[in-house]
Symmetry: C2
Subunit: 174 residues, 2 copies
DNA sequence: CCATAAGATGAAGCAATATTCACTTAGTGG
DNA sequence: CCACTAAGTGAATATTGCTTCATCTTATGG
């Protein structure tokens, strides 16, 4: 995430937005979406509700932004994990390790996230997907590339096509 | 579940109650507790809201009743699975198999259930436990008895005390 | 067939909380 | 120091949805 060289005010805004998202994250992951009021979020973030609404169109919007942000953070961490130079098997080990850490330290938020993205739960009028899905798609391609190159170097057996393996590994670790 | 020889009205009531629980199950597991209104449940069950309230004190009460019912069904199925006559190892296999099936065919409801009983999510003022916990406790004892008897017959090695093994198997399969 | 009771209904009351907006406060350039 | 704009505020309003209850419907039995 780049943010060098921005008008000061712009940077402040970002910081405020972060404050808000962070407060929301704490509360949502602690008590769940429906049991947190905008008042609470505002209070925890030390702003007035009105200000919160200057940044997010609605509660749902805030929630979506939060998921996006989470997805981004996760994706970045995992991407870096498999881009570490070294042999393919090391990259995969890295991936599993980092994913494990991420899940462990964000357990409650993950539950929230999955209840949203996976089946059931509430139908946040879709839309959240487009970007997240796309990003995840790109990530899977990168992961597939790791398998691919491992196969080329005769490190892995070609038990299935690389992309399927990537999907499988991702699912299993979830 | 016994219900033979009940005053007709009584049986109708049970049936109605079932209708309601069933409608609630569909909706809750589809959209999650907070995204289903009592109106919806009533409509789906083909009753008026008022009638719904004749059966359940509140929405929370309805939800609890549903969880209880689920817990009961599960417990029964699993109890039967380990009571099938035969060698202990077969009982354990049965247990795992049946549990797998139950989980597969009730995925969304299970998620709901776990988000309730496990950590985070909403604080349904406890209380739901007492009976469910007790029932589960009894079940674990039965499962422990299977290990116990398997050990007595020298089928299993005594790697740990039976009750711990029962708890372990239950956790793992979850 | 009527009187009475038991059951069912859904519109209205009410509480919680998401959202708005008229107003205050802080920042900026002249 | 002032005029003007951008930012921030939180009380007032709108919405949502749980719950109640006066009323209507159906069942019972005399």
């Amino acid at each position: 995430m780049e943010d060098r060289e921005l008008p000061r005010r712009e940077r402040e805004k970002r910081a405020q937005r972060q404050e808000m998202l962070s407060a929301a994250l704490d509360l949502f992951s602690e008590k769940g979406y429906h049991n947190v009021s905008m008042q609470e979020v505002a209070q925890k973030a030390e702003f007035a509700v009105g200000t919160l609404y200057k940044f997010f169109r609605s509660k749902e919007d805030l929630y979506k932004a939060l998921l996006m942000e989470m997805a981004g953070t996760f994706d970045d961490a995992l991407r870096i994990a498999i881009e570490e130079p070294g042999p393919e098997i090391g990259k995969l080990r890295n991936y599993v390790k980092v994913k494990g850490e991420l899940f462990r330290s964000n357990a409650s938020m993950i539950r929230l996230y999955f209840s949203e993205t996976q089946g059931a739960s509430f139908n946040m009028n879709a839309g959240l997907d487009s970007e997240v899905r796309e990003r995840h798609g790109r990530f899977l391609k990168k992961l597939a590339a790791v398998f691919e190159s491992g196969m080329k170097r005769k490190q892995f057996r070609r038990i299935a096509d690389p992309y399927s393996l990537a999907v499988a590994l991702a699912s299993i670790t979830n």
